[in-house]
């Protein structure tokens, strides 16, 4: 039975006039990997520090495994924190960094070094036990920081942008390792990040935050495929946001550009693949496709509009084609390199952009 269930209700935090965290309610299941995702300044790090006890909320309640932790100081909470800067003790060797917490609790040197060596083995750093942090690379420091946090046997491990100091390849490698360590120990991980791919790859649950509030929470699949707001859709990337205009007598039109509208009213009445009325819709960029302007036979449930290719960006496995249409931001279509080479689009070319109505995801 795993432990480390976090319940947060009505948490508020002010810094002077700034309302950093606004009445946040959250439940994070025991033994799950949860990501707080949002741009810098959205309150995600503050929320993490509130759980750790390094900040005190102005109102609200927090529980871990049903026990209130609000009046427990940071050092006594069943949490451990891994800092963005890793915050290793620069004057202590790796093994002493890891053994620090047991030293503070008066455990003798032989025992704490034995325990530290066990954790060092888990993070594959046994050979570096006697090195100082300044003699380690970024990835190695991160492993030591992880080991130092794990040795306190926390129920909840809090990671503040743990991968942001690493280069891209190492980041991908380390996020897998974090995930496997989480499975191995079976404790709750709360991971703060501003990188959507990191959140999707690691977590069981993603919490998208913006401006101090939780915008959406759900599994990575739900968040990516069914964003509930334009904010989440834009932040997750990979989506076009199409704003709609509701005309009189039940008309619904999508704004493709200024003055350029597609009437989608007929889909509102359909039972299957029917469209729900919403102010705007998210449309995955990779589910749009481009066709030559001559071909105009459209299958059922497919809509299209004419546009011009603005820019083309090569991304390796795919091409990112930006169109001149789109309101307020330009519509982007992601095409696999195979399809792109077949069609040979060029900048300035007039094309037909197609999408399936069933792929429109209504946003609040």
């Amino acid at each position: 039975m795993s432990s480390g269930k976090i319940e947060i209700s009505g948490i508020n935090k002010f810094y002077g006039d700034v309302h950093a965290v606004r009445s946040v309610d959250l439940t994070i299941e025991a033994g799950s990997y949860c990501c707080f995702l949002g741009p810098s300044g959205c309150g995600k790090s503050t929320l993490l520090r509130l759980i750790a006890g390094h900040e005190t909320p102005d109102s609200g309640e927090m529980f871990i495994d049903g026990q209130s932790i609000l009046n427990t100081p940071a050092r006594d909470r069943p949490t451990a924190m891994m800092f963005q800067s890793y915050a290793l003790f620069p004057h202590l060797t790796c093994i002493d960094n890891i053994a620090f917490s047991e030293r503070m609790h008066g455990i003798d040197k032989a025992t704490r070094h034995k325990n530290a060596r066990e954790i060092l083995e888990v993070v594959e750093m046994s050979d570096y036990a006697d090195r100082l942090p300044s003699q380690l690379s970024g990835g190695q420091r991160q492993r030591i920081a992880l080991a130092r946090a794990l040795i306190t046997k926390p129920k909840v491990l809090l990671l503040d942008e743990p991968l942001s100091a690493l280069d891209e390849n190492l980041r991908v490698k380390m996020r897998n390792e974090l995930k496997s360590v989480q499975k191995l120990f079976g404790i709750t991980f709360v991971h703060v990040t501003h990188t959507n791919t990191e959140a999707i790859a690691t977590s069981d649950k993603v919490i998208v935050m913006g401006d101090g509030v939780v915008d959406q929470e759900g599994t990575p699949y739900e968040i990516f495929n069914h964003p509930s707001s334009a904010y989440t859709a834009r932040f997750m990337g990979g989506h076009n946001v199409l704003v709609s205009q509701e005309g009189h007598s039940g008309q619904l039109r999508l704004a493709i550009g200024e003055g350029q509208l597609i009437d989608v009213s007929k889909y509102l009445t359909k039972k299957q693949n029917g469209l729900v009325v919403a102010k705007s819709y998210a449309l995955r960029r990779d589910l749009c496709w481009l066709e030559d302007i001559k071909g105009n036979k459209m299958s059922a449930g497919v809509e299209n509009f004419k546009s011009e290719v603005d820019t083309i960006e090569y991304e390796g496995a795919s091409f990112k084609v930006t169109l001149t249409s789109g309101h307020p931001e330009k519509i982007i279509v992601r095409i696999s390199d195979v399809d792109f080479y077949k069609a040979q689009f060029s900048e300035g070319q007039t094309v037909r952009c197609c999408f399936k109505i069933k792929n429109l995801c209504p946003l609040s």
């Binding site: 800092f83 003790f89 130092r148 306190t152």
Partner: protein, 289 residues
């Protein structure tokens, strides 16, 4: 660490020349002169080039010298201890208790204000304060706490140490504050997160990380106090002395070779003390970090 590489064209030699000239002309050369003179012989008539150990033998076999050294060590030790406690507490307060950077800098500058006036004025200012009929004695008497004025306040070892502490504390505050302000606040938080209480954080994190600053400050204090002859003379009313004040007496008595021998011994003593400190900490690290 970067290695200094000497280029073929000799630019680095030109760069190093000014400092080399200053050190050679104002440090090495005078030291060599003093070393030479310390082996000379002298009498009332003058001094004569020789190679004699008589000056050293006289100093090393005299009780006065031993007493002077002991007293100088005593002054140094107490001044070091007191300035260290003040320096550490002030730096701790500035680094960890003052949240805003603006306030931290403002308060730090406040510490330096007394140092805008000359040492002599700051020293002399204590005399009317500590004297028989000085502010402290009058104040205590008017409160009825004492019948007789306290004699130990002025022209005593107390007054000497007080003045040293007043004059030199900043030399301890600056390096310690410098070291302490470089400690990453996340490191302190990580220690707290790992279960350390306030005292343990000081003992296991802050003290080890400020040790280099302490060493640098200690070198300042030791060299300043060991080399002083003026403060000890004025503030003790001539009742107490230091190694340097003995040298001063010898110079006024035109006993230059004896003074030179004394100076050589003092330099050796200070160099030994400083090298002991340097054995424990890497001061270069403080300056390059």
């Amino acid at each position: 660490m970067q290695k200094i590489t000497t280029k073929e064209n000799g630019v680095s030699w030109i760069q190093v020349t000014p400092l080399a000239i200053i050190l050679l002309g104002f440090l090495i050369a005078p030291l060599l002169v003093i070393l030479t003179v310390s082996f000379w012989e002298y009498d009332i008539g003058g001094m004569y080039p020789a190679f004699s150990h008589v000056n050293y033998t006289e100093i090393l076999t005299s009780h006065t010298t031993i007493n002077l050294y002991l007293r100088t060590f005593k002054f140094t030790f107490f001044v070091w201890l007191i300035t260290l406690s003040i320096g550490f507490s002030v730096s701790y307060f500035l680094s960890f208790c003052v949240a805003s950077t603006t306030w931290r800098i403002a308060l730090f500058l406040l510490c330096t204000i007394p140092f805008w006036t000359s040492n002599v004025i700051r020293m002399i200012a204590w005399i009317p304060f500590l004297g028989r009929n000085g502010a402290i004695n009058q104040g205590l008497a008017s409160m009825g706490l004492i019948d007789q004025p306290l004699e130990f306040l002025l022209f005593s070892e107390f007054a000497v140490i007080l003045t040293y502490v007043h004059l030199y504390t900043l030399f301890m505050i600056v390096p310690i504050f410098n070291a302490m302000s470089k400690i990453d606040p996340d490191v302190i938080e990580a220690a707290r997160d790992a279960g350390a209480n306030g005292w343990q954080i000081v003992r296991h994190i802050i003290v080890p990380l400020t040790l280099n600053g302490v060493a640098l400050g200690s070198i300042f204090i030791i060299t300043l106090v060991m080399g002083d002859f003026f403060i000890v003379r004025v503030m003790s009313g001539g009742l107490s002395g230091s190694v340097a004040s003995a040298m001063y007496n010898e110079i006024t008595g035109l006993q230059y070779p004896a003074a030179a021998a004394n100076a050589v011994l003092l330099v050796i003593t200070v160099v030994l003390l400083v090298s002991v400190i340097l054995r424990f900490v890497d001061v270069r690290k403080v300056l390059t970090e």
